[in-house]
């Protein structure tokens, strides 16, 4: 019932608990709380067992506040991600300043479509991991690939419990001179590519990316292409608004822009009377 603190193996990080504990999780938690129990250790394979333990089962069986597509691509200096700032509630456009891209550490960025509360939860897990890195202060921070793989495990394991985190995530980053771009879906489906898009964007924006994206494109080109993708999504996805953020990760780190609007085209002559050529049609 109450928000229970995450208990996790130090080896695996938050949200990831050893399977040996799993069958008798209640007891294991007690032992962890016990001062006498070494706060280290764990056994393989169960990720994110902090759920449904003791307390009631948690199931997002339905998404409530949701975000739509996230688009991303690689370019010369790193990766660029973009999405609008709408939090939809069914088809109500309810929250119009919802940030759906968050930095994780200095060189990784997560963009999320789907349920916002689940995204919030995921960010909490990741913040615990990055805080842990900060505290260790040993120059070893999670790389984009590691974050991507971690998220894949978390999403997949929640799916295994029939308790999915209702998101499609885009993970982008830059590390050791290499761009990374990948995406993870709510059942753990994951892949990396030079350009990715979640939700409607997979249908609307990716064809554009397939045609025009190449890994050496300049920042301006990349931005223009991404904005084309956003514009198409805005024209054809009813749950989107003309208020976008664009973010990039390069060797300098990650930056997320302030929300801004795109110029859209409604001035075609045919739009004035679209049915003129065939009177009686719609």
């Amino acid at each position: 019932m109450i928000p229970a603190p995450q208990k996790h193996s130090y080896a695996l990080g938050p949200g990831v608990v050893a399977p040996a504990m799993h069958p008798e999780y209640g007891r294991a938690i007690q032992e962890l709380n016990n001062v006498n129990y070494p706060k280290a250790g764990g056994q393989p394979f169960v990720v994110d067992a902090g759920h449904g333990v003791g307390g009631p089962h948690q199931h997002t069986q339905y998404p409530y506040v949701t975000g739509t597509s996230v688009l991303a691509l690689k370019y010369k200096d790193g990766i660029m991600v973009a999405c609008d700032t709408l939090g939809s509630y069914g088809s109500t456009k309810r929250y119009k300043s919802m940030e759906r891209m968050k930095p994780v550490g200095k060189f990784t960025l997560i963009g999320a479509s789907g349920e916002y509360s689940d995204f919030h939860y995921i960010m909490k897990l990741l913040d615990e991991l990055t805080t842990d890195d900060y505290c260790h202060d040993d120059g070893q921070n999670l790389t984009p690939t590691e974050i991507y793989n971690y998220l894949t495990r978390v999403m997949y394991n929640r799916r295994n419990k029939f308790d999915p985190l209702w998101n499609s995530l885009v993970v982008g980053g830059f590390h050791n001179g290499e761009s990374f771009l990948g995406t993870v879906g709510m059942v753990g489906t994951c892949y990396t590519d030079s350009h990715v898009a979640t939700g409607f964007g997979a249908h609307l924006a990716r064809p554009l990316f397939r045609e025009k994206q190449y890994d050496d494109m300049s920042e301006d080109e990349a931005r223009a292409l991404l904005e084309d993708g956003l514009r198409v999504c805005y024209y054809r996805d009813k749950n989107s608004i003309n208020k976008f953020q664009i973010a990039k990760v390069t060797a300098e780190g990650s930056t997320i822009s302030e929300p801004y609007a795109l110029i859209t085209e409604w001035g075609y002559e045919a739009f004035v009377n679209p049915a003129a050529a065939a009177v009686g049609t719609w």
Binding site: A40, H136, Q140, E146
Partner: protein, 275 residues
């Protein structure tokens, strides 16, 4: 042996602010056969002296592979060492399962040290009776750590532990500043030379010692028996040569005064209490 009423368990402080049980556990490390470790900018080398329980027995195992990027050498209670090595292996496997990347050497060593500390503070436990030399290579380069039964751990450029390790340590202290740019071959040579200092019963040969290497693009590998033989032979050859040229610094005889100046007993116990 001197005894007092404060030395029978690890949950009793002595009036001087010491915990004798921990110090005794550290003595157990000194009973084990010697192990040395040293690193350059690219590689870490661990070398161990193996004992055989009898003429008829095999030589004990002193080195354990933890993962492709890490391995340990142990001195002291082998059984304790095996428990810890199993724990370390499991942590590495877990980490690469979740993150698809090797576990940081320093973080694992820290976990092991924390685990060891718990055993120094429970009335129903005893400290681990084993010292670990952990060699590994990760994102931040090569690392050599020494894990002590006290729950302390130290990152070294070169270190030796176990029986008569002071001699090896003296050798390393004299040479370690040159290790940074040494080749793997040279590192192995230094490892064997220093190990030799700690070797009393007979010669160093490919049966009673083993060398392991790990480093840049070099997965952890144990050289034993035939794979080690060329290195031992090279050592013997050089040894013969060295006798004629710069024998002075490396000669065992030179160690005697140093040994007195810093007897192991004087150095180790404060280490348990300090920093």
């Amino acid at each position: 042996m001197f005894r007092n009423q404060y030395d029978t368990d690890c949950v009793t402080w002595s009036p001087a602010g010491r915990i004798h049980q921990i110090e005794y556990a550290m003595e157990a490390v000194k009973q084990g056969s010697a192990a040395v470790g040293l690193k350059s900018k690219k590689y870490v080398v661990l070398a161990t002296l193996k004992r055989a329980a009898s003429e008829l027995s095999a030589y004990q195992r002193k080195v354990f592979k933890i993962d492709d990027h890490m391995g340990i050498a142990i001195s002291g209670l082998t059984a304790d060492g095996r428990v810890l090595s199993r724990y370390m292996r499991r942590e590495c496997i877990n980490h690469s399962f979740v993150y698809d990347s090797p576990l940081s050497v320093g973080r694992l060593v820290l976990q092991v040290a924390d685990k060891a500390q718990v055993c120094t503070q429970r009335s129903w436990k005893r400290p681990y009776g084993v010292g670990l030399l952990v060699g590994g290579y990760d994102k931040t380069g090569p690392h050599l750590y020494y894990n002590c039964p006290s729950g302390n751990y130290y990152e070294y450029k070169a270190h030796a532990m176990g029986a008569r390790s002071q001699a090896a340590k003296t050798y390393l202290e004299r040479k370690f500043e040159t290790f940074d740019d040494a080749t793997l071959e040279e590192l192995i040579k230094h490892a064997l030379f220093s190990l030799k200092e700690s070797c009393t019963d007979g010669e160093l040969n490919s049966k009673n010692c083993s060398v392991s290497v790990v480093g840049l693009d070099t997965p952890f590998d144990i050289l034993e028996g035939d794979t080690l033989k060329p290195h031992i032979d090279a050592l013997d050859a050089e040894d013969a040569g060295a006798m004629e040229t710069d024998t002075a610094p490396a000669a065992p005889a030179a160690d005697a005064p140093t040994d007195e100046a810093a007897p192991p007993e004087a150095e180790e116990p404060p280490a348990a209490m300090e920093s």
